[in-house]
């Protein structure tokens, strides 16, 4: 009883940064990014911004799964890799436009998510986490010995458009992903999701359709990871099984979300900026980047368990984009 009162008073104290001011800030940020990217032609700034948009899209999706629905996936690279190969097969093997490759990749990603949900939704917690990883590893092993995709030798994407076009598409994708998640989490479904993550049994007993909510999130995450993955490999031109289905994708996404704050909506955005900046700097120290990233991640879990944004929100009692988990207070 006492706990409930406490929470509601705390809720009053939190200033939610949302609605109109947030919309304006968001538009300004997007506009600045667009101007920065578009005035740079095919330069370095544009390259970094593309990377930022794509990682941000994927990290937001990982956060949707892990932070809001309690499905910690270690295998989003399945969708990224499948889309990367779709892009290469459509453009190189069948000589079609990258647009077709992109759409096909996204569709395959969504369908793959649907199929995998049949297997994965029987599991919870760590079983779910490891199963997603096993599936990605199995795909990697399969692609490594599949002649149609040139086995371990990898493939090349044909007909890569101008980098500016890739930049625009990446930015649009990222904005759509964030807006979609915002509306998803502020819908009735979102409330049910948070309830479900905190206590699946209780949530189902009050009528939250767990299966449907989880499925919607999982398919959306699959779709957007695939779209981001397809765009990434279009920009990258070459795709190999070891990197397309590599665990290093998950390493990056986990890192971004932990740094930003798991289960906060804007956390992945902040995390992406930090991660890309670190990644650019660490590129000068080959071999050390994962060691340093890993150390930073462990230190953050130890000392800032809510991430940068989560800690700031707790200290300052404000919130960017409402939808907040009330558990673990």
């Amino acid at each position: 009883m006492k706990k409930a009162e406490n929470l509601s008073t705390r809720q009053h104290r939190i200033r939610v940064l949302g609605g109109l001011p947030m919309l304006i800030i968001g538009i300004v940020i997007v506009a600045v990014l667009a101007v920065l990217g578009l005035t740079d032609g095919s330069g370095n700034t544009q390259r970094i911004l593309i990377k930022m948009c794509l990682y941000c899209t994927m990290a937001c999706m990982w956060n949707l799964l892990s932070g809001f629905t309690g499905m910690t996936s270690l295998g989003q690279q399945s969708f990224i890799g499948v889309a990367g190969y779709s892009m290469a097969i459509m453009t190189a093997t069948y000589g079609m436009s990258y647009v077709v490759g992109w759409i096909v990749g996204g569709a395959i990603g969504a369908v793959l998510a649907l199929i995998l949900s049949l297997i994965l939704f029987r599991m919870r917690g760590m079983y779910f986490a490891i199963a997603t990883w096993v599936i990605a590893e199995a795909l990697k092993t399969w692609f490594n010995s599949w002649e149609f995709v040139n086995m371990g030798g990898g493939m090349f994407v044909r007909g890569r458009p101008d980098q500016t076009i890739i930049f625009v598409l990446s930015l649009v994708l990222c904005v759509v992903a964030i807006v979609l998640i915002y509306f998803l989490l502020n819908s009735k479904l979102g409330l049910g999701l948070t309830a479900m993550r905190d206590d699946a049994d209780a949530a189902s007993s009050v009528g939250v359709n767990i299966f449907r909510s989880k499925l919607i999130c999982f398919v959306i995450a699959g779709l957007f990871c695939a779209l981001a993955g397809g765009m990434y490999y279009l920009n990258n031109v070459s795709v190999y099984p070891t990197n397309a289905f590599g665990i290093s994708w998950t390493v990056s996404l986990v890192f971004i979300v932990i740094i930003g704050g798991v289960g906060t909506m804007a956390g992945p955005i902040v995390g992406t900026v930090v991660y890309i900046a670190l990644d650019e700097v660490l590129a000068n120290f080959p071999g050390w980047s994962n060691i340093i990233l890993g150390l930073i991640a462990i230190l953050i879990i130890l000392f800032l368990p809510d991430g940068i944004l989560g800690t700031l929100q707790k200290k300052l009692h404000f919130e960017i984009l409402s939808q907040r988990r009330f558990s673990k207070e």
Partner: protein
């Protein structure tokens, strides 16, 4: 066919010892240790490099690697993982994940990306059996080493105060602490034991197959598979799981062994997500 089954059974010991370390941490510390694959590869490097440096049979290096890895495990659990576990199981999972990528790249820096293998004179010796069948000597030795390790571990858990305390911790931490058991100490010892089994598993991997600094994840996933088949915390279950993956490896051969193991694991996860032997 019969020869393939014999080979599979021989390999079963390696996969069992691989899974035992994982199942102990699962069952007792209630932690998914995503760094277990890297621990095994560390064991493999330790044995291979020590054997080369000292000019002895790799098996003898266990005298050094087992106690060393045990101590590392105890320290790791006491200093880092016990602290993170206070925050819940997900942060702990992510910390072991962070540990895994750190170790993987640290090994790449230290030992380069080259393939390694601990070679011994009896590498391809065989013991002939009637009917044109044979038993590979190396596999037989590794099977015996794995089984002896598992036997010693079982006796320790059954017959000693510390072993009982660890089992009690796994059943009920509150009741165990009421019996005077320090839970953190139990966890630390359990992690030490898991690391010691990783030293043995590493030796087996290093003697049986070529390995790379990045091989950890494929062994982690098979270790996890052994746990899934055998049930969390069950040592007899790990033996059965090891056998299944030994057979999958033998039937899949060098090219499809890994894929076959993954498929077995996925099927197991679909059919019995809580393990064959768990209630």
């Amino acid at each position: 066919m019969i020869q393939t089954i014999i080979n599979g059974i021989m390999l079963g010991g390696i996969f069992a010892i691989l899974g035992v370390g994982m199942t102990i941490i699962f069952g007792i510390v209630k932690l998914t240790n995503l760094a277990h694959g890297e621990f095994v590869i560390i064991g493999a490097y330790a044995s291979t490099l020590l054997a080369n440096a000292l000019g002895v049979d790799p098996i003898l290096t266990l005298i050094i690697t087992i106690p060393l890895m045990f101590v590392i495990g105890v320290v790791l659990q006491s200093v880092l993982i016990n602290r993170v576990m206070l925050q819940g199981s997900e942060p702990a999972l992510l910390v072991t994940f962070g540990l895994s990528i750190i170790l993987q790249d640290a090994m790449l820096l230290l030992f380069s990306a080259d393939a390694k293998k601990a070679n011994v004179p009896y590498n391809s010796s065989t013991i002939p059996l009637p009917g044109g069948l044979y038993i590979p000597v190396l596999d037989l030795i590794l099977l015996v080493i794995s089984l002896v390790t598992i036997l010693v571990l079982t006796l320790f858990l059954r017959r000693t105060y510390m072993g009982r305390a660890i089992r009690a911790t796994s059943d009920d931490i509150v009741a165990a602490s009421l019996m005077g058991v320090s839970i953190k100490k139990s966890y630390a010892i359990a992690m030490g034991i898991a690391m010691a089994t990783a030293a043995v598993a590493g030796l087996c991997v290093g003697m049986r197959w070529t390995f790379y600094s990045s091989s950890g994840s494929s062994y982690l996933l098979r270790a996890f598979g052994v746990v899934v088949i055998g049930g969390m915390g069950s040592i007899p279950g790990a033996l059965v799981g090891g056998l299944v993956f030994g057979l999958a490896q033998a039937f899949g051969g060098a090219n499809y062994g890994l894929l076959a193991s993954y498929i077995v694991l996925i099927i197991m996860l679909i059919v019995r997500p809580q393990g064959l032997f768990s209630k």
